[in-house]
Symmetry: C2
Subunit: 736 residues, 2 copies
């Protein structure tokens, strides 16, 4: 299978077909093939419609062909709704007929077990052999409300035309979303159900859907991502043009992986997804409701120029609630100008509150709502307005809605409305929906939509920062060092490392090797010397200068302090010699099976701020770097942050700013500032290193000591684990 | 005003009136007095209804009396809807007529400014002089759907009869809730709008509302709490019988208070509210939606016996979403028994997933839903079931709902339903609502309702743990010490401490005094000696033994390390003498105006785990204790937890278990376990100390060093700030 060339085949026939064939079109209303035929016809699709069923006859006034080979031109897309065992033959005929696109709606493939999975692979082979792309199997199809074309088998009516596209791994969610959207008069542009993704996956459809001029916002329901790096690249291109919101489920479903570092223990699947979405500019929703709460705002509102919000209300209570939520969403209540207050005063009764929230009192009329909204929108300190509308006692909410619509439509700032209640606000809901003004039932949800608008505006305002250049990095030399080590240390039979019998701890690289490799990336370590005897330890200590630190050197002990394998602050040669014995003895007692190469001797650095810098190879997204509070308690403090490697300077700054360990590098109370810039430089080089050496499954500097300003940052302890190739080969064998 | 005797007057006439008078009843449909008269009549209230208006005439077929003095018996409650300036006279007449309860709906009081506030105080005086209780002013009234009685002026129709009571500080929220509940066929039992709370407040109504046999759940919308301790006591009594859910808004509205401790800086208003709600067993909702999502489940479902949930679905995607949310709400997917799997297998097609979530596939029939639900409920490992129902392709959601209702009604375990979609599920929604089975539009909300049910069940299973006895505490001696100090140190004019001119740092108690007071509470400090000269420092150091720590002694320096006023690990007399000069010089340079009493000398303790223990007097809730990670970074790490003082043993355990600093006292990796029990004992005594000495505005032990198991915990540094009485007196003067 030539996956690469296959992937480049256009998906256009799915989205712009001149003719569609329904294979398995049926007269029986309980069959999916009936539903699809009906939807295609009733959706007012303008292209040619062909029904295929060996039984022949006619359906919806059209002839039913016995085979796709009989269907006349134009014909670009086939939808298959026939039993799984008939699909292969039908696909073959589609290929012969020259089709380049097919949707397999039928189930009975990978989701049912190994036999179905085999059948699915065969389908892909047939399709590839004809240069044909597949959506599905096991999906509900796709639709486009503007073309229009409804190629799903769901019960009618379909969604209203709209500006939000929905791409989903779950067909049931598609059905629920269509029904929910229709019930809320909320329109969709395109909907794609991806099913088992034998061929076309979540990344493939992003571009074609984003190219649709009617689609203003893309929303994704994801159960996973097949090729993380490609998704990040593709989504990153799209988010510059159109917002993408993703709900990623299966957060707790990920299995545990064997790890030998704090980074590994902390980097759950979720850290990688969050880092990837952030890099790609994808907005991550936590609940199903948020997807569409946010999509409406993003589709219909201009971006705000800041985070200052004015709240306009006719009651105090909901104003307070809104203020709370705005604050917790990192928005703030705008300080209203004196001119604004004067203008409001002229419109409102004396008891009204002219601060922010502006409480017009329960007597507020539709005209007062409109006029005060206009005044607030004119205040340069106000970047967005949240209008709160509980059922007004003296007027109808509908009249208020009608009054404010023209004001909102003329505004260049976002306005969202929190309508509180149900029946008494129904008319207002309908007016606002028709006018494409986002309305929410509770102030909390309206506030969260404003926060997402601000987040989006800030994203668009940021320039794409380029990856750091790092001309001083000497990758070839580092690779040479690793190659030499592997050549000398690798058992020839397996071409890599093999765990020794009964060994559960993965093998680590020798610290000196890692030190040398990191030196090629300009990451400094205090000179580290291996002593193999107590006398050597004393000798080296005298040479490097006191005080010294001793650490056990073993490829089998990832966390030295766990075995009391670290001694600090030794002030003379005698202490160093005695310390050698103690460290070796402690380590041997705690890990009798570990190979102990000796003890490393290091001059101790002055005090500074210690942080952790780690990286691992994420199975979905590749190299992922971690920064944060180090030491043995890293896993519990969880003061860490993740980003995809390599880093831009901006992302390195994000890692520092999003952790307390990073923020306090600037100094805090009696704690003097540390060399923050040196830490940034280490992060950039370390991330490049992790990206350059994917064969290092985990790499960790813990601690990295940042000295005072201008004095640099030093890696005090290092560890790295090689991918164990024998295991990997074993897995490959199993799959073929 | 004799508030105490007044408070004990029954609120029964508000909730069980034999007759109600509407003062300000009006013919004009745009007047609130018309709305109230209409609602009272149309709500089918069975008692006597009296309309009062000087214009006379008749209304809704009843005579209108010119004055309440003319209204015949029975008459227990008056509702006033007349202009503010007429209220005083009308209240006086109510008193003369012998009424014991009045609701003032009218606005124009405290909410409008000082003049209105004065009028409000006069109303309260008139009411008190007649032994009459007041609800309002500035409220929408109250209603009871079972009595029935609608004494609000909101547009009809009112809510359906139900089992959830709503008590609110905001009238607008009441209007929205009534409308929303009606629109969702969700019934209420009682609703009380509290308005300005001139007299009756949120705590007063708790008991009477909880006593209503039709009310199964109390829900509160709070903008604050007037008397925190009374609320905690009253709500604590009620939550043993009936669940109470509170939404507390105004989170970010609290002003900043001047603080001289980490505890003070960290203890926002929210920490106090959270501690109070936890102590009282009140469930805190974060959004308006959660109140009623949770109230339905609490009103209609039996308590689960554990946190194991089975998810029953006809589609994979929503099942994964539900599993995610359950995990993040600390619920878990139940492990299904072999018998359960076998029974499910017999009912379902081979491709169905028999794990948990149980995916019956899209073909699932109403009978399969009912039967599988029954099977899951019979599994002893399943404590609750979440049923997921997107529009089923082959059946109606309504038919599924009808099929499962009898199963749910016979179950002794909670079942909640996530209905996904809108129109296609409407029939199912109606069946389930009528059957009192909680249904939600999204699996996330259904899962969160199950988590609240589990939380409630766990609360009920816990015994009320008594306050710790602490027979060894010698409060009189501690009070004597403080009294002696105040007598000697207090300037006689103010009867307390007065800040010196230009002084911004609040005055602290001398460490030795605080050490003595805490010793009376069996809280140990390493002996602490004040040296006033370098020679004295050297002498004391030799006496207590090396190494020693030196700390500047000054009532004006709350954070000694901020001024480099701390030296640790001094190993000989020379170092101690030199250290004395250094510490004094550093402190004087940093704080030229501070009074420096000398330097304290302390023998250094062995290494251990350092934590912080603090307390402050919260204006709402009184003494509040804090426990967590100490040191200078306390405010940034935020690894702290709060509870109301004094503590029960259980609450002390909670403080430890809810912080990493507390959890690691049990040991972690190479960190040996510390004397956790000693820390618990210090916490109990410290909390009692804080409760016994409300005049200490802030008290802090930072660090408290916990040594190895059985070796105790020692307060290494102490600080406490006295309430500055002159300021307090000044404030009192202003208010009268």
């Amino acid at each position: 299978m030539c996956a690469d060339s296959h992937d480049t085949i256009s998906l256009n026939p799915f989205f712009q077909p001149r003719g569609v064939a329904v294979i398995g079109a049926s007269h029986d209303p309980t069959k999916l093939g009936y539903g699809l035929a009906r939807n295609l016809v009733q959706s007012n699709y303008k292209g040619a419609v062909h029904f295929i069923n060996p039984k022949g006859g006619s359906l919806f006034g059209q002839p039913v062909h016995a085979s796709i080979l009989d269907a006349p031109d134009p014909l670009d897309l086939a939808i298959l709704l026939i039993p799984a065992q008939l699909v292969l033959q039908a696909l073959e005929e589609c290929g012969q007929r020259g089709l380049k696109a097919a949707v397999i709606g039928s189930g009975g493939f990978r989701e049912t077990g190994p036999q179905g999975a085999a059948l699915e692979r065969e389908c892909l082979q047939v399709a590839a052999s004809h240069g044909m792309r597949l959506i599905g199997p096991n999906c509900i199809g796709l639709l486009d409300t503007h073309l229009p074309m409804d190629a799903t088998f769901l019960p009618p009516p379909g969604p209203f035309p709209g500006d939000v596209a929905f791409i989903s791994h779950s067909g049931a969610i598609c059905a629920a979303v269509i029904d929910w959207a229709r019930g809320h008069s909320f329109g969709l542009s395109r909907l794609v159900s991806l099913g088992n993704q034998a061929d076309v996956n979540e990344t493939d459809v992003l571009g074609p859907v984003a190219d649709d001029p009617f689609t203003k916002v893309l929303t994704l329901y994801l159960e996973g991502i097949q090729d993380g790096r490609r998704f990040v690249a593709e989504a990153g291109r799209i988010t510059r043009r159109k917002p993408v919101i993703a709900l990623k489920v299966g957060r707790f479903a990920g299995g545990q992986r064997a790890v030998a570092s704090h980074t590994g223990a902390l980097a759950g699947q979720e850290s990688a997804y969050n880092a990837a979405f952030r890099r790609a500019g994808v907005i991550r929703a936590e609940t199903s409701e948020e997807i569409f709460d946010w999509a409406r705002a993003l589709a219909w509102c201009p971006p705000p120029l800041g985070r200052g919000v004015a709240v306009l209300t006719n009651a105090g209570g909901p104003g307070v609630t809104a203020a709370d939520v705005l604050e917790s969403d990192h928005m703030h209540l705008a300080e209203l100008s004196a001119a604004t207050r004067l203008a409001l005063q002229a419109e409102l009764p004396p008891a009204a509150s002219l601060g922010n929230p502006v409480d017009m009192l329960a007597s507020a009329s539709p005209e007062q709502y409109a006029c005060c909204l206009q005044i607030l929108l004119e205040d340069p300190g106000v970047h967005a307005v949240l209008v709160i509308l509980p059922p007004p006692p003296l007027y109808t909410a509908g009249a208020v809605a009608k009054a404010i619509i023209p004001v909102v439509h003329h505004a260049e700032k976002p306005v969202v409305v929190a309508l509180m209640g149900e029946r008494l606000i129904q008319e207002a809901v309908e007016h606002l929906r028709a006018a494409h003004i986002p309305e929410y039932r509770f102030p909390e949800r309206a506030a969260s939509a404003l926060a997402v608008l601000a987040q989006r505006a800030e994203f668009l305002a940021r320039q794409d920062s380029p990856e750091a250049l790092l001309c001083d990095v000497d990758q070839p030399k580092a690779r040479l060092l690793l190659g030499e080590y592997r050549a000398s240390a690798a058992p020839p039979v397996a071409g890599g490392f093999i765990p020794r019998p009964g060994e559960s701890i993965p093998r680590l690289l020798p610290p000196a090797l890692l030190e040398g490799m990191l030196a090629c990336y300009c990451i400094q370590t205090p000179a580290l010397h291996l002593a193999q005897t107590a006398a050597e330890a004393a000798q080296i200590a005298a040479l490097v200068g006191f005080p010294v630190a001793l650490k056990v050197a073993s490829p089998d002990i990832p966390h030295k302090s766990d075995v009391n394998g670290v001694l600090l602050n030794l002030w003379d040669a005698g202490a160093a010699a005695q310390g050698f014995h103690q460290v070796v003895e402690n380590a041997s007692r705690a890990r009798p099976q570990a190979r102990i190469d000796g003890v490393t001797v290091q001059r101790m650095l002055p005090a500074g701020q210690d942080v952790i810098v780690g990286a691992l190879q994420d199975p979905q997204f590749g190299p992922l770097v971690m920064f944060g509070a180090g030491g043995v308690e890293t896993e519990e403090l969880k003061d860490v942050s993740f980003a995809l490697a390599p880093l831009t300077e901006e992302e390195a700054g994000y890692l520092l700013d999003s952790t307390w360990a990073g923020r306090k590098l600037k100094g805090y109370r009696s704690l003097p500032p540390a060399d923050r810039e040196a830490v940034v430089q280490v992060l950039l080089r370390f991330a490049r290193f992790a990206a350059d050496f994917p064969e290092l499954a985990e790499i960790e500097i813990n601690p990295l000591r940042a000295l005072g300003q201008g004095q640099g940052a030093f890696a005090l302890d290092l560890r790295a684990r090689l991918v164990i190739e024998s295991t990997r080969r074993h897995k490959d064998t199993k799959e073929t």
